[in-house]
């Protein structure tokens, strides 16, 4: 739920509840107040009549009076009792329906006879008044609350604007690009603090990124140079005479180890570079063309190991990514397929609309999920001492960088690695 809706919703609920409670409350309060007023007027009338009874001297006077005043009725023969007030519904000939009346009934004594006197007052006008008052009040309430809501919403929108700008900046932040995001100035202290904090975070992250990048390059330089020195000294050692077979064997072992060290260093740097997003340039890469070329390059190594490679290319698969990384991805999958194969063995490479699948024969059991972890090497009897243990970790990192989906499966004694390039609509 959006922030604005959230705050507005509380107001809405509150307004609704208040409306629900106040309208009936209002109705009953006014109604009882009106009734009270009517009752008081009835009582006053009764009192006035009693006070003026001395003006009536005969039965005829009484009848004439009661006939003239439609609001009073006189009933003969009553026992003395106290005044009572009640609401009754009487038929109104003019409106042809029953209408509410308030009546006071009390005993009066004229010339020694006791009469029951009933004074009534129509409540129809009161009800009409009540209705009008209620209507106006309800309208007022609705207008008031609606207005408050709208104003609140508009103000909130304006007040939260810097927040949304900041939010958008955070969303669009990319580590490998120096952020020149613009923040909206705000007179609200918290937002100014937030903007400053985010801005500082951006610049600090970028600085750290630069430092790390620099460190990566420095580490590369620092390690490559001693590796080069060692390599070259070994080559000079090879030229020395006399050279015994034992020495030659040792030199060869050292050279192989040093090469492995060099590969390991290169792989680690590559991983660091991928993780630091240092491969910025993306272009449309034709995976099929790349795969054809790479298979060609490795065909010799494969045939040397008596491994046959079967290629099935349904069509040209193009993805938007960094060319070198896609190349490394295919090379790593293929070298693994050769390295962890058996002799004789086979490899199938298939490309269809969105996926690249590299399958190979090898051990007859599925591999552990840990194969994607760094330095994990499958425990098998097949001789594969020279891998760096980083190949698949690099593949996985490349896939994560470009949102490709990487999957491993074991079927029909084939180990299959599948890369789905369309996971994020990179494929075109």
């Amino acid at each position: 739920m959006k922030l604005l809706n959230k705050t507005t919703r509380s107001y809405l609920v509150y307004s609704f509840v208040i409306l629900l409670i106040t309208i009936p409350l209002f109705y009953f309060t006014i109604k009882s107040a009106l009734l009270h007023a009517v009752d008081r007027s009835l009582k006053t009338q009764m009192r006035d009549i009693r006070a003026n009874l001395s003006d009536i001297h005969s039965q005829n006077d009484l009848e004439a009076w009661s006939r003239l005043d439609k609001d009073i009725r006189l009933l003969k023969g009553a026992t003395r009792s106290s005044d009572t007030i009640s609401t009754v519904y009487l038929y109104n000939g003019r409106h042809r329906e029953k209408e509410p009346y308030r009546e006071i009934s009390g005993t009066i004594s004229v010339e020694g006879n006791l009469y029951t006197l009933i004074i009534s007052s129509s409540l129809v006008e009161n009800e009409d008044l009540l209705g009008s008052i209620l209507l106006v009040e309800t309208l007022l309430l609705i207008l008031l609350m609606g207005g408050v809501l709208l104003i609140n919403r508009a103000t909130s929108k304006r007040i939260w604007k810097p927040f949304y700008v900041a939010l958008n900046n955070v969303k669009n932040f990319e580590l490998n690009k120096n952020s020149n995001a613009e923040f909206k100035k705000s007179d609200i202290e918290e937002f100014e603090v937030l903007n400053k904090a985010i801005y500082n975070l951006f610049s600090r992250s970028y600085e750290t990124y630069l430092q790390q990048k620099e460190f990566t390059e420095n580490a590369s330089h620092e390690l490559q140079t001693p590796l080069a020195i060692f390599q070259n000294k070994l080559e000079l050692l090879m030229q020395t005479t006399p050279l015994t077979e034992e020495q030659a064997g040792l030199i060869q072992d050292m050279e192989s180890t040093n090469l492995r060290l060099g590969r390991l260093n290169k792989s680690l740097l590559l991983l660091a570079k991928i993780e630091n997003h240092q491969f910025g340039d993306e272009e449309l890469v034709n995976v099929t063309t790349l795969a054809v070329g790479i298979v060609q390059q490795f065909s010799e190594q494969a045939s040397e190991a008596r491994i046959s490679i079967k290629e099935t290319y349904k069509n040209a698969l193009t993805v938007k990514a960094n060319r070198s990384l896609v190349e490394i991805l295919i090379i790593n999958l293929l070298t693994n397929a050769i390295r962890y194969n058996r002799t004789p063995g086979e490899i199938t490479i298939a490309i269809d609309n969105t996926t690249l699948a590299v399958c190979n024969t090898g051990i007859n059991t599925p591999l552990d999920e840990k194969i994607f972890e760094r330095f994990y090497k499958a425990d098998s009897n097949i001789n594969h001492t020279e891998g760096t243990g980083l190949g698949l970790a690099i593949v996985e990192n490349i896939c994560r960088l470009f949102d490709f989906r990487l999957a491993y499966g074991f079927k029909d004694n084939l180990h299959c690695f599948t890369v789905d390039f369309a996971a994020d609509h990179h494929a075109t």
């Binding site: 490559q224 140079t225 020195i229 080559e235 030229q239 050279l243 190594q301 050769i338």
Partner: protein, 224 residues
Amino acid sequence: MKILIIEDEQELLNSMLTYLRGENYVCESAASYEAARQKIESFSYDCILLDITLPGGNGLVLLEELKTDNKTSGIIIISAKDSITDKIKGLDLGADDYLSKPFHLSELNARISAVIRRRHFSGSTVLTFHEIVVDLIAKTILVHKKPVDLTRKEYDLLLYLALNKNRVVSKNAIAEHLSGDSVALFDNFDFIYTHMKNLKRKLHQAGSRDYIKSIYGMGYKFEV
């Protein structure tokens, strides 16, 4: 042939000097930006090996100066930064080649000969080793003046060994040379045996003596 090696790492410099002097090159060295600049201004070289990260300055700046001064030296950048951007930048600035550390001395030597050959058009385009003649332009070889049909890999192999004649060239160096950049990641170098076997057979059939000696399985030497 005169070579200037600009490299601040003393041990690396020593190794290069030892190997290249053994190839009868006249070698000089500079260990800093300033020293390199002075040498470049005062003398001329057939080939300059240039490290990019130098104390006192960037090697690429030296490269720019060399190019604006219209010096004809061939330039090979030797860099610890194995970055494509740097490589492209270096080659754009006019370097002839780019070698990233660590490298094989035999590879460096082969690249130097290639650069020098390209720079000196007047120079010989054939290499002769007794009955074997390598035509560098046509990329063919003749044994007893008769052409021998070699595959591209076999030709490259022979040339690589011949350029490093009388030197032990390790199997790893040969494998990396033959397979190029990407396959350098690969560890199985057995495939070179096949090429070696075929090359030796073809040379033998053409009547050549066996100049390629295997050195205890560690590498090969072209002995003339």
